[in-house]
């Protein structure tokens, strides 16, 4: 798996009203990578994700997945949205099975894989619940299971925990980290939460707003045996403070 974002720019609108949202973004993700894009609102980080998902087209530059240019949305790039995008009329199991049904897998295969992925996210007991009967954190776990069950090459996470309470967010970060280690999935995380990015990602790109661009990239080589310890380790805190200063200076330049 190799995803390459190559000198991508994106403008919205035409002519004089055209607004440059992304300016010359380049990065790449290899199989098994966990990469994060961090920036304040207006930095265009969600637009980067929508471009990779194929929900928008770049104005300039190219996005290639295993050498093939991205031309539209497809099941090789799974997506988890910030707002709970579960189908309210389907059960949890129905939601997880949905992508496989769209792809026309056999019934027995769907049943087997649905059970497996419900188990992976720890919600086998909730299989028959409707989304409204589940908590926000559970709903996001189902959304992640649904995306994974469609067997994407890369999982795109757009502020997946942004709408959750702090406590639940921490346990979800723990969950995502374990999932990544166990399954070896490839993930791109969009977040405005610097700590979240540093906890989970091996590579973090900092984005500046107006127009959105990558201003700093760091690889996070920290010992991640437990996230709880990592959160308070001196190396982690030093790195976080360094990058937080960088982010603040970007916001300060705007004021």
């Amino acid at each position: 798996m190799h995803l390459r974002v190559d000198h991508v720019s994106k403008s919205f609108g035409h002519g004089r009203q055209a607004q440059l949202v992304l300016d010359d973004i380049s990065f790449e993700i290899k199989g098994g990578d966990f990469l994060a894009l961090v920036g304040s609102s207006g930095s265009g980080k969600s637009t980067v994700m929508r471009l990779i998902a194929g929900l928008e087209r770049p104005t300039a530059g190219s996005i290639r997945l295993d050498g093939q240019p991205v031309r539209g949305p497809g099941s090789d790039r799974g997506m988890v949205f910030q707002k709970y995008s579960l189908y309210p009329w389907m059960t949890a199991a129905g939601n997880v099975a949905f992508g496989m049904e769209l792809q026309g897998l056999s019934r027995s295969e769907i049943r087997e894989r649905t059970a497996y992925f419900l188990d992976v996210v720890g919600l086998a007991d909730a299989a028959r619940c409707l989304p409204r009967e589940l908590s926000g954190g559970m709903q996001q776990r189902i959304a992640i299971a649904r995306a994974l069950a469609a067997q994407p090459k890369v999982l795109l996470l757009d502020e997946p925990f942004g709408a959750l309470d702090l406590q639940i967010r921490e346990s979800m970060q723990e969950f995502l980290h374990r999932l990544w280690r166990q399954t070896g999935l490839t993930a791109l995380l969009i977040t405005h939460d610097l700590e979240e990015a540093l906890l989970l990602a091996q590579t973090v790109h900092i984005m500046a707003p107006r127009p959105g661009r990558i201003v700093r990239s760091v690889s996070v080589a920290l010992e991640r045996s437990t996230l709880a310890q990592l959160r308070v380790s001196p190396d982690f805190l030093a790195l976080r403070e360094d990058l937080a200063t960088c982010l603040r200076s970007l916001d300060g330049a705007l004021l």
Partner: protein, 260 residues
């Protein structure tokens, strides 16, 4: 003891049906009381007993049943036609901006033409039979049904559609598996609301030209100053409307339990 009795009394009062039934009962009692005191000429305000008697007499003659079948048949015929056309049309307008821009101004214009004003034209075109009445109901409800369905489609959350696309869904699958179930509650509700206009229209059509039907019966009753039969007609129309409304609500509860 006293407090538990009080709370059970309060529960009874707060039961959703209780106050509604009470409201109807109060009006019925007022009606009976006023007609009993003979303050108002019975020609203007027939007593509940007289209306009931008129109902029994019409039922015995078989008129009531015939009128019911005629009116209900027209409503269902015209409305079914409208519902069947409005669903694909509304979905197409909601998903395709070009067709929406093409048709929306036209529909907004026709929607403001009062449907009863089409009656003379429909009579000239199709005579006095069933067709013009069914078409009147069709014209009078089609545009409301279509525009309400179009709005429901436009309000389908973008994430639900985009999720299906990133799961490998094609356009046709998105339409069938995401948009259709998502708008089902609003479609049922649109039908429930616009059914009321269908009832208005059938009565108007029958007042103008018909040989049977609840509206026709009312207009005949007027000719013979039979206010008891007019009251009867109005009450029957109201009750059937209420029944249809409840039917749609039941359908909603059964088919779209996830939306409650």
């Amino acid at each position: 003891m006293a407090s538990s009795r009080l709370s059970s009394w309060r529960r009874g009062v707060l039961h959703p049906w209780f106050l509604g039934v009470l409201g109807v009962a109060i009006v019925l009692m007022l009606w009976a009381a006023i007609s009993a005191t003979a303050l108002v000429d019975p020609l203007f305000l027939p007593s509940p007993g007289a209306v009931l008697a008129a109902g029994q007499s019409q039922a015995a003659q078989g008129l009531l049943w015939n009128d019911l079948v005629a009116s209900v048949g027209r409503v269902f015929g015209g409305f079914a036609l409208s519902a069947v056309v409005a669903l694909p049309l509304g979905i197409t307008m909601g998903t395709n901006p070009v067709i929406c821009r093409l048709l929306e101004p036209l529909m907004a214009l026709i929607r403001y033409m009062p449907a009863p004003a089409f009656i003379p034209l429909l009579i000239i075109y199709f005579g006095l039979g069933e067709l013009p009445k069914i078409l009147l109901i069709f014209i009078g409800t089609l545009f409301f049904n279509t525009l309400m369905i179009m709005d429901a489609v436009k309000f389908v959350p973008r994430e639900l559609i985009e999720t299906a696309l990133t799961l490998g869904g094609r356009q046709a699958q998105v339409l069938r598996r995401v948009i259709t179930p998502c708008i089902a509650p609003q479609v049922i509700d649109a039908y429930r609301i616009n059914m009321a206009s269908a009832w208005n229209l059938v009565i108007v059509a029958e007042l103008v030209a018909a040989s049977e039907g609840l509206g026709k019966r009312i207009s005949l009753a007027q000719r013979f100053l039979r206010t008891d039969e007019i009251f009867l007609g109005l009450i029957v129309i109201g009750l059937i409307g209420l029944l249809i409304d409840l039917g749609f609500r039941l359908l909603m509860r059964r088919a779209c339990s996830w939306a409650n």
